[in-house]
Structures are given as C-alpha cells and as structure tokens.
Symmetry: C2
Amino acid sequence: MSLRGAKPNEIIFTGSATESNCLALKGIALARQSGHIIISSIEHACIIEAAKWLEKQGFEITRLKVDKHGLVDLNDVKKAIKKNTILVSIMHANNEIGTIQPIKEIGEIIRKKSEILNSTFAKTSVGRQKSKIYFHIDASQSFGKISIDVNKMNIDLLTASSHKMYGPKGAACLFIREGIKIEPILLGGGHEKGLRSSTVNIPAIIGFSEAIKICQKEMFIENKRLSKLRDKLIKGILNKIPDSYLNGHLTKRLPNNVNFWFSGIEGESIVIQLDLLGIATSTGSACSSEKLEPSHVLLAIGLEHHQAHGSLRLSLGRWTTEKDIDYVLKILPGVIKNLRKISPFK
Amino acid sequence: MSLRGAKPNEIIFTGSATESNCLALKGIALARQSGHIIISSIEHACIIEAAKWLEKQGFEITRLKVDKHGLVDLNDVKKAIKKNTILVSIMHANNEIGTIQPIKEIGEIIRKKSEILNSTFAKTSVGRQKSKIYFHIDASQSFGKISIDVNKMNIDLLTASSHKMYGPKGAACLFIREGIKIEPILLGGGHEKGLRSSTVNIPAIIGFSEAIKICQKEMFIENKRLSKLRDKLIKGILNKIPDSYLNGHLTKRLPNNVNFWFSGIEGESIVIQLDLLGIATSTGSACSSEKLEPSHVLLAIGLEHHQAHGSLRLSLGRWTTEKDIDYVLKILPGVIKNLRKISPFK
C-alpha cells in the first residue's frame, strides 16, 4: 500500500468507501464530542447522510456551495471556518461530473486557520490539541488516477476504494494521520488498531494492494492517454450535437469522466438506446440508481430539474480505446436526434 | 439464501458478522432511544463491546452468567427481563467452547414476557409497539451446522457469517423480522433497504449463498459424521491424558468443536508443538489472538487464569477425517507429557 507521504501504520482497511467516509465523519465527530463540520454540497451520499446524522446529534454542519463547474470557492472555505470547526470534508474529484477540487489550496487554508486558532487557544490556555481542524478528503474517484501527497496537501484523513481502481469489491481504506483520535463504528476484536473490528478480508486487501501497484505504475501514461480520449469525446460531442452542454469543468476534471446534458430529452432514454447499441453509460451515481430524484450534484451546479434529468455520464477506463470513442461519436448524434424527434419536451 | 422461516426481504447483507452484530445491537438500541438490554457473559467480543458502548450512551445492560458448561440459566433470563427491556442478545453456539444455548426456550420466555408487558402497557395506554422485546441471536458458529427456524425459535434478528461456513470472507447477513425498526450504522446510497449503505459486494454474496446451499445439503449427514469424530477425540483425550478437562458441554455442543484444558502447561506451547507436527489448533478466539489476557469465556465458566491459559481449542471441519483424529490422539499425549516435564508450573 502506497499513498505518498503516508506511513504504513497510518492506514486502516475497511469494507467500502462508504464505511471509510462514515468512519471519518462519525469517528472524528464522536471523538471530539461537539463542534462544527464543513462539507461541500456535491459530496457523495455517504458524506451527506453522515453529516445529516451528526446534525441530528447536535453537531453544526456547513454545506459549501459550488460554482457552475462544481468548484468550491476558496474564499467560502475561509469564511466558513469558525472557532469550533473540527473537520472539513471535501471530495477530491466528483463521481458524477469529474470536477477536481483545489485540495492543496483548501489544505493550506485549513492549516493556516488551524494555526491561528491554536495560538489564540494557547493564549487563553484552553486545550491546544482540541482546536485542530482536521481535513478529510474522499479520494474514491481520484486515488490511483491523479497524484496525491498527504503532506503537501495537508490531508489528515483520506478515503480510497478498491473497486474504483480495478481491485475487488469489499475493500477500501482510510488514511488517518498519526495521533488523530477517532471513535470506531464497528466494535469487537479490535482489528485495524482497534478502529475497525471485523475479520480482516485478506484476499480483498491483497487484490486492492495489487490494483494500487498497477495503477501507480501506469498512472502517468494512463492519465495522459485517457485525458486525450476524454477531450476528443468532449470536443466531438460539442461539435456534432447541437444544444449539448458539458457538466463539470473542461480541464480541472478526472481523465476518465465525461458528463453532458442534452436539451429536450431524458438521460435514461439515452442510456437505454446506447445500451442496445453496445455502449454502457449512466445518468449519475450508481448508488442513486434506484432513486428517481435528479442528481444533487447537477442541481448544485445550477442545472434545472429537467436539465439534470437530461444528463448522461460516460466513463472511460483502462480498456477504452480511440476506436470506442470514434464509435460513440458516430452513434450518439443520431441517438440524440431521434430521441429529440419523439420527445414530449420539445 | 435460505434461513428457515425467514422471507427474502427480511435478510440484508453486510461485510462481516461483527458488522451484523454491531448493527443489531446499536441499530435496535438507537432506534428505541433508551432501554435495557440483556446479553450473556460469553458473547463474542463485538457484542460485548457494542453493549459497553451502548452503556456509555445511557442504556442499561445486564450480562447473564453461565454455568460451568457455558449454559445460560433460563430462570436468569426470566428474572433479568424488565419493563424497559428492549433486546435480548444471546449467541446460539459459543465460538470457543462450542456450547449450544437453549435458544428455543429463551425465545419462548421472551415471547411470553413480551406479551405480558404488552398487555400491561395496553391497559395503561402506553404505546403498545414500544414494549416489544426483540430477540437477537449471533448464529455465526451455528448457521449451516445445526438447524435453525426463526419462527419456531421466536428469533427477531439473527447474524450469520460467510467464511465460517466455507464461503468467502467479506460477507455476512442479518435477518431482521419484518416491521422491526433499526437505525443504520453505514449511511449513504441507501443499499440493503437503507440499512447498510455501501457498494454491494456481489461476488462475496454469491459465494456466501453457494456456501449456504452446500452446507444445507450436507448438514444432516455432516453433523452426524463430525459429532462422531468429535466424541472420539474427546473420549480419546480424556482416556489417554491425565489431568485433562473438557471445556464446554459434553453433548450440547457444536459438532466441530473440542476444547480442553490441561493442567500444568500453557495452551500456547501446545499450539506451537502441534503446529510443528502438522496439527493446526488455537487457544481461543482468532479475534483475540493479539491479546495476552485469558479468554473471557473460559473465565466465565469458572476457570482460573492459569487454567484458561492452559486451554486448547481443536476445530473439526469438512476435510477432517478419522485418520486425522487418530493422528491427534497418537501425538497429543506425548506432547502434553513432554511439556509437563519442562513446565515451570509443576
């Protein structure tokens, strides 16, 4: 297991990214007992729901807005931090629209604010340790795809997931900087330094570790290759399909993510048509596939309900070739055109 | 997935038996908000620790004593149930000493007490539903080995584990009787009916289901075969090794479990000697293998510290043959004799 800047004893294994994220939020909050937590409005459902649960337990939650590209405003981060802030949790890259947050800059702000609060606390002789603001990032989508250094980025906790990087399901990890107190959710035999009791899923963890090794070896070249394909797909769609709009940022974006909305039609009908033609796509997060509500991420970047429902997510991966991109660019314009013809929305 | 008396919609999948047990205890307690919980003193560490955590949150916990065989006294169960009891959690079979609890009889007591309390509550017009006492059993060791009927045994919640029955690690389940409210621990996308958010580990669950099918097909014959081998091993040790004592009940016992204490020596040294001779054994629970304290189960059945430390657990399984039993009976007496010769305890 290798995460730049992290020591081996700072990583524990869990069963899923959801578990790691819940453990980070609940664990820090319950260990600190009270305080203020900052998240963004486009976090994964597990962060949003864990924050909602903590709010019910009396914790104060700030949900930062994002701009039309899905970016958190650094000034908003600065303004949101208060004397009683205990944790900031911002996802590295969004699972639906691929936008990459300025994690290093957010980390810097948190570090500085934390130092100021620490020195104020020291003067008033209130417990120094208690005023530290921890920074957690959900790197489920980015780890193995873009480089991360927990020290340079001032990250205190980080979530990474095995099956998002071609490893087996059932394994994830949580980086927890040495000395940070966290209350476990799963109690029992005291596995993973007492922070996650459960029989350790060795086969899944070995698979996860192998997946990490391969991703790290290939990351630099694969990032370049996928970015090129991604940009070809984005430009092709924008050129070939009228009234098509890219969701998320053009460049501050995961190399494997493309997300569009097409006016006048429903994303679900595009998914079905493309599926029949051998192209697997989705409208949003797999975790919300049973829900009918529009994506909270697309609403947060300013899309109307009907625009969010007209959105399509295309993911690239290790086995995506230029031929695949050409095929999508050949097929998609006709699919959109035909669907628009029969659409009741026009 | 088949558990006698359970409907498919009453079963959710989790990542481990520890998670299922924590979810059962925390989930029921937090949904009911306050009340009294009964467990036995020989539960698995996850139940003991979850109960301890709930005690800190203000819940009242009763820990039932067991007799020298590890059996819970039915009168103790009757006496322990109070007006505000919300949950009784008793393991079906103990992981260390194999003792099988009278689950059907305990279930019957809980059902009757619950009915009496319900009618009293109804008379005093306090919420009827709230007075129901739920019965959870940790069947990690028994499911797939001995037959269970959730209706006949009046079980409301049940934990079963995949890798305890030759399935892959990383999968477990929790039976939750229809209509029971439970607060989830892992929040997010709302998988498993909202009770366990996390990407569903389909490969592990399929493996678990296959393991269940095989166990159910073989259970009757395998139970008979193993019980015979177990009894041969127990009788052989008692006959051949002086000052050897069986831990747990002679007949109310898992077909695959044998546990002895040998006076004058340490269990760990027996484990090492046997390992060198090709026999894999343990001193207690795998979950406590990093701990030096004597087993809480062995202390609970009345063993002294030195007796608990002198105990050895031998597990039988699908691939254990009569030849293996004969080999252990040939080897073990000499190992014990030699260790006693060099023991500082004598």
